[in-house]
Subunit: 156 residues, 2 copies
């Protein structure tokens, strides 16, 4: 029953974000132990931030509230199936569960087509449409090697 | 030749971020028409933001500078191959090209393994390790339908 309550709230945020001219019609809430700990709606065009999808905004909001960079024990409710960027963020934040209302196909029907990105990600870098090259690997590795033995690091 | 200059700069940012205790050893710069328009390093642990990978930070920084939510004509130089979240962000921001130094395998060797996320993303929601459910699609769609005919929207 509570799932319905929270997904309705995520849908309300999708409406709120759209009505306020913040961005596309997408909303999200994050819930932990029956408490809403984060919320957000799409703010891409109003904040000039292509990463400000509802889920990313809500994850950042919840992390701020919980003073943590991990969201274990949290459930993410989103008005639309997450795009690959947001799905990646959900894995990095270690959320427990995802509940969504509209599907990617529903989003595509109103002009938001992340299917192209879903198809690109599993490809090898050389096969992708964005030209990708590797350069100076050895110089990059010298920094990474320092991390390995760094004493005062916070792992994540 | 300039590619080498900018990837070196990205690697310098990876060192700077690590040394300042901001997060993991990852740096990024974004270049447009021979000018650095954005930069960033990993800030996940210092800002409690699991989305604050070097590439995301640099994209947000460049968009702010260019006053735009799109980065057409820009090249992204990153000290390490982008994870799926960052790759998704790169597609949404419409960057032209990616140059990276270390590979995902190099990152895995120092404890940053995004291979798991790369494997999860192409799966169907029901097959993924994070439990995912769909709920109240019809209620979500009513908001999306309004977007379709909304007169004062900014498309992206």
């Amino acid at each position: 029953m509570n799932d319905k309550l929270y997904i309705k709230l995520a849908i309300e945020f999708s409406q709120k974000g759209m009505d306020s001219g913040s961005g596309g019609p997408f909303g999200c809430v994050i819930v932990k132990d029956g408490e809403v700990v984060g919320h957000g709606y799409n703010e891409v065009t109003s904040t000039n931030d292509p990463t400000a999808h509802a889920e990313i905004v809500a994850i950042r909001n919840a992390c701020k509230k919980l003073d943590s960079f991990q969201l274990e024990g949290c459930v993410l409710y989103t008005s639309c199936e997450p795009c690959p960027m947001c799905l990646g963020a959900i894995y990095w934040a270690r959320l427990d569960r995802i509940v969504y209302a509209c599907s990617s196909e529903d989003a595509a029907a109103i002009g938001f087509d992340d299917d192209f990105i879903y198809k690109e990600i599993p490809l090898l870098p050389a096969e992708r449409q964005i030209k990708t090259e590797q350069l100076l690997r050895e110089e990059g590795i010298t920094v990474m090697e320092i991390w390995k033995t760094k004493a005062d690091k916070t792992e994540y």
